[in-house]
Symmetry: C3
Subunit: 272 residues, 3 copies
């Protein structure tokens, strides 16, 4: 999928259709909190998840996966070793991998792990909240996994980080800001219930790895993943009485959302 | 929040309002089975979960968290080391931490880990089923994670355990029994469907850590958490055709339950 | 429960009734993706799960559990050691254990772990998809955790594998094929939504361990577990708008399905 002459919602819709047609294998090295949810999100949207995060196998699979997610939510000695091996193997094989630096800035070890991954084996996409992105860019972090900053406030730092490492940086929030160091794109879909379910951001990182498997343009991949998740979230929020029902409905909607739904509802703008 | 001149349901309602107003950061060192569920319960009820359970970061976060949960459901060498560091850091910083000795009495290692934590870095609250509390108090344990004893049968042992370690002990069951070694309080809400969803007790321990972040009176914190969970469970059980729907509805109800709902429905009694 | 003179659906129904009556303790050494889901499936169907997978305790519990599940979805150094200890302890104590070789054939380490377990401490039942069973039997594997082969194509290899190791082999798929090396039985229930929820196969392995705790005939245990899960899935699929709702409804149906439902709806055939 290439943006080419298409507008972004159309390109995102074509990316969704391509993923449904090809069901890319997405390897996830993620945390114990969201592993099931992430796998179910990937299955719903049309990808094939493989949650392989031990050092004996992580590099072996990353060399053949369509895309790889590395998420630092609950790092351990063994899984961090696996993440280093998987990111190196993905880069060596030309497979896109996504870094989700959960909690960067709030705790020292994972901040160091994230910065080392970024410097040694640059990812195709970095996805985080504003505090995490600011922390990777050298600023002060938040108090944990939630964000004390708005995506807009982190847009400048995101652009610099993207340019420095030759990657795409996606800053999640009420309005998502995504940049490849040159272009800056916003996605303005979503619902406040997204903040009441754990692992939505983590699942978005995994979806970016899935879309990157079918989109040469990694900024488009990140935009398409964001729009798909947040438009489906709007659909799910229509009828959900609370966060439990919303999470269930979001899986239903990720499975049923059509490329036409996405094209019609995505509020994507090029802002810089 | 202080009990003061208020009756207990009113004090519990005020504690719930205080948690919603302040969204305390609750660090959870818990098991792989219930990590997602626990985070979603905490988000629903108004707290901010951070599931940090590795030894490089656990103490760092525990020193600044509003409350800390240590749950022994699936202990590993690395996470047990993290638990020891987190409990010590929490006590050093004056932060309340909650011990949930899942399976104590049924397996030797975790029983020893739980007793060591209790002796070296006493928690603000211990929450378990009757078999687990009896095991910590020196009695014989159960056959696993479910309980072969009633809370009433463990009330005496709970009171002694609480007095010995200067902690609150909460014995979960059909009627919950909670004590600080002096007072003994029962909470008689809930539904049998609670026994058909994994991790309800584990989530209750996490809620106690959240309430302890906003209640100086730790017995009140444990009572308020228990009443909030079990009243929401009664609401959820009204319409649930089975345990899957019940778990979803429980999250919805934890998000929507008001302090007035809680004050009106909580069946809390001081029995000794 | 013995098949004896009964037809298989009747024998499966009696096995379900026996499990509900006795609530066997089922120890699960499983992966971080499906641990919660597996525990909830076991609770729904009437068993008592205990997710104990560390090497200090795994053998201790396996010697007294009704049945044991070993699932290789996310193996780590520590949990693989626990799996070896649990399988040995289960066999020494005469307790049935089930091997679920997730991803065998797709990655080298776990394939070796599965083959070693099979050779040194043969399980009562091996459950996998066609690619995994072919890989254990010496053939080429799939690309990950999903299967590139049909159960029918693996039936011959399954029969040889069962005969060689004195075990039952269950090949999951659109039509499940199960064999003890002599008899070959098919179960033709289910719904395509089962492929859109992570961990359904993993939960089926756990259900086989639960049924093996109440069925001397291990082929019947595997058939009864398969029929119970897939008939409940058909019931859940009637009303589910998507995979999120389907997973919730499946738990509801596993709790409500009666032995009579199972006897009436199970499409079980002896085909060889």
């Amino acid at each position: 999928v290439q943006t080419g002459t298409h507008d972004l919602p159309t390109a995102a819709a074509e990316a969704l259709a391509a993923m449904r047609a090809t069901a890319p294998l997405v390897q996830c090295l993620t945390n114990i909190v969201v592993a099931q949810w992430t796998a179910n999100v990937l299955l719903a949207v049309g990808a094939a998840p493989a949650m392989v995060d031990n050092p004996r196998e992580a590099g072996e699979l990353a060399g053949v996966a369509g895309g790889v997610l590395v998420n630092l939510g609950t790092p351990y000695a063994e899984t961090v070793e696996a993440m280093q091996l998987a990111s190196a193997a993905a880069n060596a094989a030309g497979r896109p991998w996504v870094l989700d630096p959960v909690g960067a800035g709030a705790m020292a070890w994972r901040t160091d792990v994230a910065r080392t991954l970024l410097a040694r084996t640059p990812p195709a996409i970095v996805r985080g909240n504003a505090s995490e992105i600011l922390a990777l860019a050298g600023g002060s972090g938040g108090r944990g996994v939630d964000s004390a900053h708005t995506p807009q406030a982190a847009a400048g730092a995101a652009r610099e980080l993207a340019a420095e490492h030759g990657t795409v940086v996606a800053v999640s929030g009420a309005v998502d800001h995504l940049t490849d160091g040159t272009r800056l794109i916003t996605v303005a879909n979503g619902d406040v219930l997204l903040t009441k379910v754990t692992g939505v951001g983590c699942a978005l990182g995994a979806m970016m790895a899935a879309f990157a498997a079918v989109c040469e343009d990694r900024l488009l991949a990140a935009v398409a993943a964001t729009a798909t998740l947040t438009v489906a979230a709007e659909q799910a929020a229509w009828t959900a009485p609370g966060p439990g029902s919303f999470a269930v409905g979001l899986l239903d909607r990720l499975a049923s959302i059509t490329p036409d739904d996405l094209r019609g509802a995505a509020r994507v703008d090029v802002v810089g």
